[in-house]
């Protein structure tokens, strides 16, 4: 108590709304990014996603490469070519002798051994350990037929190559009355990921906002804060801060997944315009997060204990689960589903359904823009109601405040 600080002659500068909101947001980011729980869940997300991709890579890789040996170097190209046109990835190697080849069959490093027919005639025979893989059999049968056909065509004085080209070019022409756009694996996987990530991030982020609001209420620090910032600034700062942290977490996960997928070549994204898909997902995340987190903030303000949070937010949680389940279970298998298409324009549902439709490539630009506009129009009303509920309820500790009381003030 020897010396006391003296008041500065010029008082501190007044704080603008943006400054106040950013201070609150920065505290949220600082404390949350430093928290163990954030670091652990981020590492877990990355591990799960990368592990999933690696498993897909290795499991997928094994089944697709079939090792075939042959004692006749002349058929290597033909076998490989036949395999490729049948969609099989064959690794054809020459072995010095049939004995060496058979030894390799026994130790499993070869799936089949192609040897020329004894007596130098056309055709070949196949040696296997136990059974011939059915797909490989089709390929080799086809090759045998082709060789026979070629030699017959030559015997008749024709040009085998020309005949083959003609035969291959012949196919039935299909006219679809109601053509369906085809989604390839990459589109489906990305749509699925978009749906799941959107749900998990929005759910976790909104819950964190509700918990953060209740934390300030339980610890009663909120009264001290509200003596210097407005309720709207406090709420906005919290939503922005936690939203940034959630975006950071999902960003890290997506980048890790993208790196792993590109390195292993698991996902062929050539059919997808990844840029727009990611952009739309981020946009929808921002809209969805704002929508749900301010709702959660308002509802969180009604209760005074963490244990009450989950029960007070349940109605909104339902509104989130519904489109999520529908999106994954109905919309992805059936991208043109009517209910799904209509629901993707309804606020609260749109953030879950539109990114899926965007990834599936079934939503034209005007639909994306219209749906976004509808959700944005609802937002100010939501902000007004949530702000009112929040400022009326956040200082009333004790029993749960009813929604009606909080709205009335």
């Amino acid at each position: 108590m020897s010396t006391l600080p003296t008041t500065t002659p010029h008082g501190p500068a007044p704080l603008s709304t943006v400054q106040a909101t950013m201070l609150v947001a920065r505290r949220e980011i600082d404390t949350r990014v430093r928290a163990k729980s954030f670091q652990i869940t981020t590492v877990l997300f990355v591990l799960v996603v990368v592990a999933g991709i690696l498993v897909a890579h290795f499991v997928g890789g094994r089944t697709h490469t079939i090792d075939v040996g042959t004692t006749d170097g002349g058929v290597v190209a033909a076998v490989q070519q036949a395999g490729r046109s049948a969609g099989l990835d064959l690794a054809v190697t020459t072995v010095p002798s049939q004995d060496v080849g058979e030894a390799k069959l026994r130790d499993g490093s070869l799936a089949a051994l192609v040897v020329p027919e004894a007596g130098g005639s056309d055709g070949f025979s196949v040696v296997v350990k136990q059974t011939l893989d059915s797909q490989l059999r089709t390929v080799l049968d086809g090759l045998a037929r082709q060789q026979t056909l070629d030699s017959e065509v030559s015997a008749l004085g024709g040009d085998p190559a020309a005949v083959t080209a003609k035969v291959l070019g012949a196919q039935a022409h299909v006219t679809a009355l109601e053509p369906q756009s085809q989604q390839d694996t990459a589109q489906l996987v990305v749509a699925y990921l978009a749906g799941v990530l959107m749900y998990i991030t929005l759910m976790i982020g909104s819950q964190l906002v509700a918990q953060g609001v209740v934390e300030e209420k339980t610890s009663r620090v909120v009264e001290l804060l509200l003596s210097t910032v407005r309720p709207a600034q406090l709420m906005a700062g919290k939503v922005i801060g936690i939203g940034a942290v959630a975006l950071l977490q999902v960003g890290i996960t997506v980048i890790a997944a993208a790196v792993a997928a590109t390195r292993t070549g698991v996902l062929d994204t050539s059919s997808l315009q990844m840029g727009p898909v990611v952009l739309w997902a981020v946009l929808w995340f921002l809209v969805g997060f704002t929508t749900f987190s301010i709702l959660f903030a308002a509802l969180g303000a009604l209760v005074s204990r963490q244990e009450e949070v989950s029960s007070v937010v349940t109605p909104v949680t339902m509104v989130m689960v519904l489109p999520y389940v529908f999106g994954l279970a109905v919309l992805i298998p059936d991208p043109h589903n009517q209910i799904g298409t209509v629901a993707s324009f309804i606020p609260f549902f749109a953030p879950f359904l539109m990114p899926i439709r965007a990834a599936l490539g079934v939503a034209p630009l005007w639909e994306l823009l219209l749906s976004l506009a509808i959700s944005l129009v609802v937002l100010p009303v939501l902000v007004w109601a949530a702000g009112r509920i929040y400022s009326n309820a956040v200082l009333r500790t004790g029993a749960r405040v009813s929604l009606k009381d909080a709205l009335r003030g």
């Binding site: 108590m1 010396t3 006391l4 600080p5 003296t6 008041t7 500065t8 008082g11 501190p12 500068a13 007044p14 704080l15 106040a20 201070l23 609150v24 505290r27 600082d30 404390t31 934390e215 300030e216 610890s219 009663r220 620090v221 909120v222 009264e223 001290l224 804060l225 509200l226 003596s227 210097t228 910032v229 407005r230 200082l395 500790t397």
Partner: protein
């Protein structure tokens, strides 16, 4: 003179009237003690000053004009419901609060250091608030009210839960802040402390100020009271015209009587007592703040 003025503040919660026209002002360099029983409206009045609650009617003025959010940022506030982020470190927390009150990052760090040193919690800067003892949490709470070098201090029950050393530290801080020209308002149930510290006192009852003034002013009364140690009152006091025996007890073998008279210098009281027997002590009896307070509360209960 920069003063904080509360004028005619009215607030009701449903059909319960929490404030019913409360009015008082606190001048620059003045320590104002705000007393009243639980639920009388002290906390509500302070919350309205801070803008945490909106008044139904009435006005809070600072320097003669209606108070703004920027003025309120210059108030140091200690809410009745103590609260800090339990998992945030003391230093970070104080810096954050200072910045929310408009200090720059550098100024916030410097102020945090100064005030934690002044209040004796400097060595706990890196600890989470929840790891501190209750007494130290209180000191951090006070630091939170002071860290932005406020122009006004509004403290709701700042002394509750403090050990005697902390009470001295707190009293010293309040005195020095007011000496620096800061108006200080605090509420307390520790009336001896209020009596010792405050320049002026306001007693609130059922949302209305029933008495406001210096302690001397409040004690002054039209009907002087006299304390007599000596003979039993029945022997002499009943003969005095217009006098009323307020108390009469027989502690430690000495008969002590307090008599209220319509006026005069008390010589008639002394003469009557002497006539009845030997008088060991004779003195004017002035009500203590506790007496005044009890009187206010008693009439409140009688009014119910």
């Amino acid at each position: 003179m920069t003063a904080l003025e509360l004028e005619n503040l009215t607030k009701s919660y449903g059909d319960r009237q929490a404030l019913d026209g409360a009015t008082f002002s606190v001048g620059s360099g003045e320590i104002f003690g705000f007393v009243g029983s639980n639920g009388a409206g002290k906390t509500t009045a302070m919350r309205i000053v801070l803008g945490v609650l909106a008044a139904d009617d009435g006005e809070v003025r600072w320097a003669g004009r209606p108070i703004t959010l920027d003025d309120r940022r210059r108030i140091g506030y200690m809410p009745e419901e103590r609260g800090l982020y339990p998992k945030m470190k003391v230093g970070q927390q104080l810096e954050y609060l200072a910045r929310l009150h408009g200090l720059t990052a550098a100024a916030a760090t410097a102020a945090t250091k100064r005030w934690t040193e002044t209040l004796g919690v400097a060595e706990r800067l890196g600890d989470e608030v929840q790891k501190l003892s209750l007494g130290n949490q209180q000191r951090v709470q006070l630091a939170a009210a002071l860290v932005h070098e406020p122009d006004v201090l509004v403290l709701d029950e700042p002394f509750s839960g403090l050990d005697p050393v902390a009470v001295d530290v707190m009293s010293g801080v309040l005195r020095e802040r007011s000496a620096a020209g800061v108006p200080v308002v605090f509420s307390s149930h520790q009336l001896d402390l209020v009596e010792r510290l405050c320049d002026r006192v306001g007693i609130i009852r059922s949302g209305r100020m029933v008495a406001t003034g210096t302690i001397d002013e409040l004690r002054r009364t039209d009907r002087p009271r006299w304390a007599v140690v000596g003979p039993p009152p029945s022997a002499w006091a009943n003969q005095l015209s217009g006098a009323r025996v307020l108390s009469d007890d027989d502690a430690a073998g000495a008969r002590r009587t307090v008599v209220e008279t319509p006026g005069g210098d008390g010589q008639d009281v002394l003469a009557a007592a002497l006539a009845a027997g030997s008088v060991h002590e004779f003195a004017p009896s002035r009500p203590s703040l506790s007496d005044l307070f009890r009187h206010a509360v008693a009439s409140e209960e009688a009014a119910r």
